[in-house]
């Protein structure tokens, strides 16, 4: 029960930050990515503002054995830079630039995003369902190249 309450709170605070910062406004997101157009620097402050407290949190986590609820803290990050990471990030960025929504804001704006927002969300979920099959293909191609 406490784990679900903690998740609800974290999701709510995350959504509040996305709403206030402008991340759910596709004009602001595309305005930030549009470095050769009328560049909007807002999102640099969003990313910077989010990374600062999180860097402190990782530092605290490194000196603790467990989370508040007693579950283990995440281990060291993976180090493998492979085709899935690069191709996946390129695909994600292309879609993010095209419409201006990433997964968090797509959920946060579900109640006011209209038909467009719902279609985006449905396509995103379909993509997530297809992803394991695409990963298998990427791995097969990578193995063939090696």
């Amino acid at each position: 029960m406490m784990r679900n309450l903690f998740s609800l709170f974290a999701g709510g605070l995350f959504g509040t930050g996305l709403l206030i910062s402008g991340m759910t406004n596709t004009d602001k997101v595309q305005g930030w990515l549009d470095i050769f157009g009328d560049w909007d620097p807002t999102l640099a402050f969003v990313l910077g503002g989010a990374i600062l407290p999180m860097a402190v949190a990782w530092n605290i986590a490194s000196r603790r054995a467990k989370s508040l609820l007693g579950s283990p803290l995440p281990g060291k990050p993976g180090t493998e830079i492979d085709g899935n990471l690069v191709i996946g990030s390129l695909m994600f960025g292309a879609g993010w630039g095209l419409v201006g929504l990433c997964p968090g804001p797509a959920i946060a704006s579900i109640s006011w995003g209209g038909i467009g927002g719902l279609v985006f969300l449905a396509a995103m979920l379909a993509g997530m369902l297809l992803a394991p099959a695409v990963r298998t293909r990427v791995n097969a191609v990578a193995a063939a190249i090696r």
């Binding site: 784990r3 679900n4 998740s7 609800l8 709170f9 974290a10 709510g12 605070l13 995350f14 959504g15 509040t16 930050g17 996305l18 709403l19 206030i20 910062s21 402008g22 596709t26 990515l33 549009d34 050769f36 620097p41 807002t42 640099a44 969003v46 990313l47 990374i51 407290p53 999180m54 860097a55 989370s67 995440p74 990050p77 830079i81 899935n84 191709i87 996946g88 990030s89 695909m91 994600f92 960025g93 292309a94 879609g95 993010w96 630039g97 095209l98 929504l101 990433c102 109640s111 006011w112 467009g116 927002g117 279609v119 985006f120 396509a123 979920l125 379909a126 993509g127 997530m128 990427v138």
Partner: protein
């Protein structure tokens, strides 16, 4: 006067606070695509209630708060449906292949100097910038 950057900073700090709370409180990395994707492909089925709770908070709290904003925020999403479908598919497949999106790789990864997080962020920012140039300035479809 343009004070959007202050709202960006305040909202960003709240996003970071949420990620910090989730890490230190629940021992979890706050990555939106991972939390959602684990439900979609069932790889995270054993923690479905936690994931659904997170998604509920993420959807419902902004819904309520939006009415209290000086001017309610709009998504201003394009009306080009084929662009929306293509973008949704790219975001869905891409974030799951890369194992993370703006929150997981960008916020949680960069803040611990994870090489995967930094590389992913560099690549999705480059692709995002190129995408806006191509679709907005060259093809004018968005």
């Amino acid at each position: 006067m343009d004070i959007d950057w202050i709202w960006g900073l305040v909202g960003g700090l709240m996003i970071g606070a949420a990620a910090s709370f989730y890490l230190l409180g629940s021992g979890r990395i706050m990555g939106a695509s991972g939390i959602i994707g684990g439900l979609v492909d069932r790889s995270g089925w054993s923690t479905w209630a936690e994931r659904l709770s997170f998604i509920a908070g993420l959807a419902l709290v902004p819904m309520v708060l939006r009415g209290f904003m000086a001017e309610p925020v709009q998504t201003n999403i394009t009306t080009n449906l084929s662009a929306i479908v293509a973008a949704g598919l790219l975001v869905g497949v891409g974030t799951r292949l890369a194992n993370g999106c703006t929150s997981g790789h960008g916020v949680c990864g960069i803040s611990r100097l994870s090489m995967r997080g930094i590389i992913a962020t560099v690549f999705y920012l480059i692709a995002g910038g190129v995408s806006v140039i191509v679709f907005r300035h060259w093809l004018s479809v968005i």
